[in-house]
């Protein structure tokens, strides 16, 4: 190519380079994790089919997943590990203080441990955020009857 044509073409070529390199990729999505997949499988399979290890792994991946905490609490409770279950219910309430289901689950656990006052507190909290709830009303009635 002659110098004459280079004179004419280079600004256009440089402009093409500018245009070609102008754009940047949209913010790279952060490194892959499988927190969502884990939570999804928790929901899909139901807590009963997952081991404690599965559920704990899910929680480690997404420490804020209240549903998994509740599932783990229920699994511990079924395995007669009341202390661990209570930890999970309280952890769930730490994230979602107004979760009436977690309040009721914790209240039931406390009632089984003969902590009627604690169960009443949980029932009242559940009714405050879920007025009219049958499970919460029944828990309140049973706790008061103790």
């Amino acid at each position: 190519m002659s110098a004459h044509w280079i004179r004419i073409v280079w600004p256009l070529a440089m402009l093409a380079i500018f245009a070609a390199t102008f754009r940047r990729p949209a913010a790279d999505r952060a490194a892959a994790g499988d927190a969502v997949d884990c939570a999804q499988s928790t929901r899909a399979q139901g807590a009963g089919r997952l081991t404690f290890a599965d559920l704990e792994r899910c929680l480690a991946l997404d420490p804020g997943d209240v549903e998994t905490m509740a599932a783990l609490g229920a699994a511990y409770e079924a395995a007669h590990r009341a202390g661990d279950a209570e930890v999970q219910y309280r952890r769930a309430l730490g994230v979602e203080p107004h979760d009436a289901r977690a309040h009721v689950a914790l209240g039931r656990l406390l009632l089984a441990q003969r902590d009627a006052a604690g169960a009443r507190r949980e029932a009242d909290a559940a009714l405050r955020w879920h007025p009219g709830s049958g499970p919460a009303a029944r828990l309140a009635a049973e706790a008061r009857a103790r």
Binding site: R7, P11, P25, A35, A100, W129, H130, G132, G134
Partner: protein
């Protein structure tokens, strides 16, 4: 040279008028812009302009005629025939406009497009007349060295013009924290980006000069600059403006090109007029000595030819212009569109003024300086482009307060191939042509008959743009809503209430339909899926309601209804006057029938509230004053209405709902109002529902569960004793259930949310503690932790979350398309 200067000013004003006419016509022609801006009269000044436009037209013709008097008087004067033809044609058109007043009646029709194109013919024709009448100055080829120096200096000037305003803009913005080094980084980033842009312009100019070298004709160089301006304006108008208002395809290209040509023609017209002083100089000193550089002539509209004073003043005022342009439009902006257009204006002024101020060195036609500068600009730009993510986050924050950086950063985003394909899919599900949709019959109850429960009165206040954190039941720092607080104490306050749509256009239909709708702005056959209306009709409700521009397409006017605020436009609906009329109507109502009231008051809408002065003595630290003051007024009127209901023994027989169609941005990260962006302050809404005591018995309400305003319709079914069928996650479900109903699905389910206006979709999950957004308009994905603070905060999104969000959005959009028998033609 008073006459050419005055004529140049007249031509600028004349062009501004015709460009405004054309812009209005094209907005009217775009179905989206017409339904969102023109029809509801969001900008009342626009209405005034339309009414006065025939008179402005006449004035424009009169002024133009005065500037052409010498040509009209002397038939042998140069350009006399062209001037006479122009004046005759323009006068006839002005008379026609005065007689027919076309802008008032064009509506959303093809005539808008035709009139828009026709309006642009006037500045182009006038430019041709002036080019015949006024002589061209003698030209020399562009001084390339001067152009290079001017480009670099202009980049610095433009960058500084915005940087000076950053501290002021930062004071008005909410939620932007930039450390000291962030400012330095931001300014460096802006300079690199601006230099890159200006160097690209320089390369285009240099390319023109090398092509023109072939002919050794400086005039060709000048005309190629003008053509370049027309092309650049066309591209900006199509890709920035038309894209923002969903105006695409052949007509949008034609409109953009016509506007681009008109802008370039006017520019050249003003350049010709402002260069007349050079011609005088040339005639007194000899052509060769004072011939004008072709690029200097192109820069003449802003900087003139003979004196540097105007250019110096322009550069000195540039920071003020940059700040004022952005500040004056930010509250009413549409996805930063006007602010971005302002950046182009500032850049053009900077480039032309600095070029005028840059000394010329005789016949510097070297290409090497341009080459070196372009290499440096390219290198700097790529250094900034490859900054680590932490620095990129700071640049993103800085862009929120520097429109020029926002312009470049938004434009430079590039999607990967799979993302681009996904975005294309989202676009195929957005603003769907109504003729491609088959409206389904949607019913919550089969064979709907009158309720066995005595129907209560229902009062539905949907306060447009009311944010939850501006209402005391949701934010204890609010002290200006005591009446709403009193109502809330006797009501159910839903803590996690959201709108399905980030804009009124689809949020209101979703409330009436009781669920999501296919993404279209024309709701054909809406009565077939208007579940709320079906409930009202089955129970012989008397509808006392406003007919805003949306509801008039959703709800038929019939003998059984009472229209409130008759004669008022959508943007004029004021809760206080509406309530006053409602109270009057309730006094004379048919007592055998229950009343349903609906209104969409605009008191808080940013286009209305910001026009209202805050009364003396009121102050709202921590809140946006004009919005807070408007809410205080609403609060008083709502309180008065509750008192009215109580004193008329209606309160305990009424369902009273206070909510909003969506929230609003009030300076968060530089955003104002609501457009395409799907952010926490727009998606979260207040939802307060008062029930009569008789309806509270036996119902359970999970106040902490995720709820939508689209749950209201099925909730009213449930309250009236029906058992509404569960139509799935795209539809509403009752907020009020039996005591043993399990509401846990609300806590587990993933819910689709969407923008009303563009391909922006999101998923709410974890009981509304997480919101993930896919923005195919801005080319960004985002994730929000909504449990943080009153509204939430943006958090990092993992690839797994993003993939899951994309999967969930596609799945639910597929379900929605299936409901509406829609198959995207892709």
């Amino acid at each position: 040279m008073i006459r050419p200067a005055a004529t140049a000013a007249a031509r600028s004003a004349n062009a501004a008028f015709f460009l405004s006419i054309a812009a209005f016509c094209f907005l009217s022609y775009s179905p989206f812009a017409y339904s969102q801006f023109i029809k509801p009269n969001v900008v009342p000044d626009l209405n005034d302009f339309v009414v006065l436009s025939p008179w402005f037209f006449a004035l424009a013709v009169l002024v133009t005629t005065l500037t052409l008097v010498p040509q009209l008087r002397a038939s042998d004067a140069k350009g006399s025939a062209a001037a006479r033809a122009y004046v005759a044609a323009a006068s006839s058109a002005a008379l026609w406009a005065l007689w027919r007043r076309p802008l008032i009646t064009i509506g959303n029709s093809f005539s808008g497009f035709v009139i828009g194109i026709g309006a642009l013919a006037f500045p182009v024709a006038l430019a041709i007349v002036d080019h015949v009448v006024w002589p061209a100055p003698a030209l020399t080829a562009t001084d390339r060295g001067r152009a290079v120096r001017a480009s670099v200096l202009a980049a610095a000037v433009a960058c500084a013009a915005y940087a000076i305003g950053v501290p002021f803009r930062l004071r008005q913005a909410v939620g932007i924290e930039i450390p000291a080094y962030g400012f330095a980084l931001g300014m460096a980033g802006v300079f690199a980006d601006t230099l890159f842009a200006f160097t690209a312009i320089l390369l285009a100019l240099v390319a023109v000069t090398t092509i023109a070298d072939e002919t050794r004709n400086p005039a060709l160089e000048y005309w190629l600059f003008v053509a370049l301006l027309a092309s650049a304006a066309t591209l900006v108008l199509y890709f920035l403006v038309c894209a923002a208002i969903a105006f695409t395809g052949r007509d949008a290209w034609i409109a953009s090109a016509a506007l681009g040509v008109a802008i370039a023609a006017t520019w050249s017209d003003v350049a010709r007029l402002r260069s007349q002083s050079a011609i005088d100089q040339q005639s007194s000193t000899g052509n060769q000595q004072s011939a004008v550089d072709a690029l200097a002539l192109f820069a003449a509209p802003v900087a003139g030819i003979s004196s540097r004073r105007a250019a110096a003043i322009a550069v000195g005022l540039l920071p003020v212009v940059a700040y004022t342009l952005a500040a004056s439009v930010s509250r009413l902006d549409w996805n930063f569109l006007l602010q971005k257009l302002g950046v182009f204006v500032v850049w053009l002024v900077a480039l032309t003024s600095v070029h005028r101020l840059t000394p010329s060195r005789a016949a510097d036609r070297r290409l090497l300086p341009a080459f070196v500068v372009s290499l440096i600009a390219l290198a700097l730009y790529h250094v900034v482009l490859r900054l680590p993510p932490s620095a990129d986050v700071l640049l993103e924050r800085y862009a929120a307060v520097d429109p020029s950086l926002r312009l470049v950063r938004d434009a430079q985003l590039k999607s990967s191939a799979d993302t681009a394909e996904y975005y294309a899919y989202l676009r195929s599900q957005t603003l769907v042509p109504p003729q491609l949709v088959r409206t389904p019959d949607v019913d919550f109850v089969e064979r709907l008959g009158p309720s066995r429960v005595r129907p209560p009165h229902i009062f539905l206040f949907i306060i447009d743009s009311l944010r939850r954190d501006y209402v005391s039941p949701y934010n204890p720092a609010v002290s200006f809503t005591p009446e709403i607080a009193r109502l809330a104490a006797d009501s159910y306050v839903f803590d996690r209430a959201f709108t399905r749509y980030a804009g009124t256009a689809l949020a209101v239909p979703s409330i009436w339909a009781g669920g999501m709708t296919i993404h279209t702005l024309e709701q054909h056959d809406f009565e077939r899926r208007n579940t709320l209306l079906k409930l009202l009709d089955a129970n012989r409700y008397v509808r006392m309601m406003d007919f805003d521009h949306l509801v008039e397409e959703l709800v038929p006017r019939d003998a059984g209804m009472v229209q409130l605020d008759r004669g008022k436009g959508t943007m004029d609906v004021d809760v206080c006057t509406t309530v006053a009329e409602l109270e009057q109507r309730l006094g004379g109502r048919d007592r055998a029938r229950p009343v349903f009231f609906y209104s969409l008051p605009q008191n808080v809408h940013i286009a209305v509230a910001t026009r209202r002065a805050v009364p003396a003595g009121e102050s709202y630290p921590g809140f946006y004053p004009s919005i807070a003051s408007s809410i205080r007024r609403i609060d008083g009127c709502l309180g008065g209405f509750v008192e009215f209901l109580k004193s008329n023994d209606l309160y305990d027989d009424s369902v009273l709902i206070v909510t909003s169609d969506h929230g609003d941005s009030l300076g968060e990260e530089g955003r104002w109002g609501h457009a395409y962006f799907m952010v926490p302050e727009v998606m979260r809404i207040p939802l307060i529902v008062h029930l009569p005591p008789r309806l509270r018995e036996g119902v359970a309400v999970d106040l902490a569960a995720l709820t939508f305003s689209s749950d209201l319709a099925p909730s009213l079914y449930a309250l009236l004793g029906y058992d509404p069928v569960d139509r799935g996650r795209l539809f509403g479900r009752p907020l009020f259930t039996s005591a043993d109903a399990d509401p846990s699905w609300r806590w587990r389910e993933q819910f689709l949310v969407a923008s009303s206006y563009g391909a922006v979709f999101g998923i709410l999950r974890q009981n509304g503690r997480r919101m993930e957004v896919i923005d195919a308009v801005g080319g960004r994905d985002a994730a929000y932790d909504l449990s943080a603070g009153l509204l939430g905060r943006q958090v990092e999104e993992t690839r797994a979350m993003s993939d899951e969000t994309r999967r969930a959005v596609a799945q639910q959009l597929g379900e929605l398309a299936s409901v509406f028998h829609y198959h995207a033609d892709r």
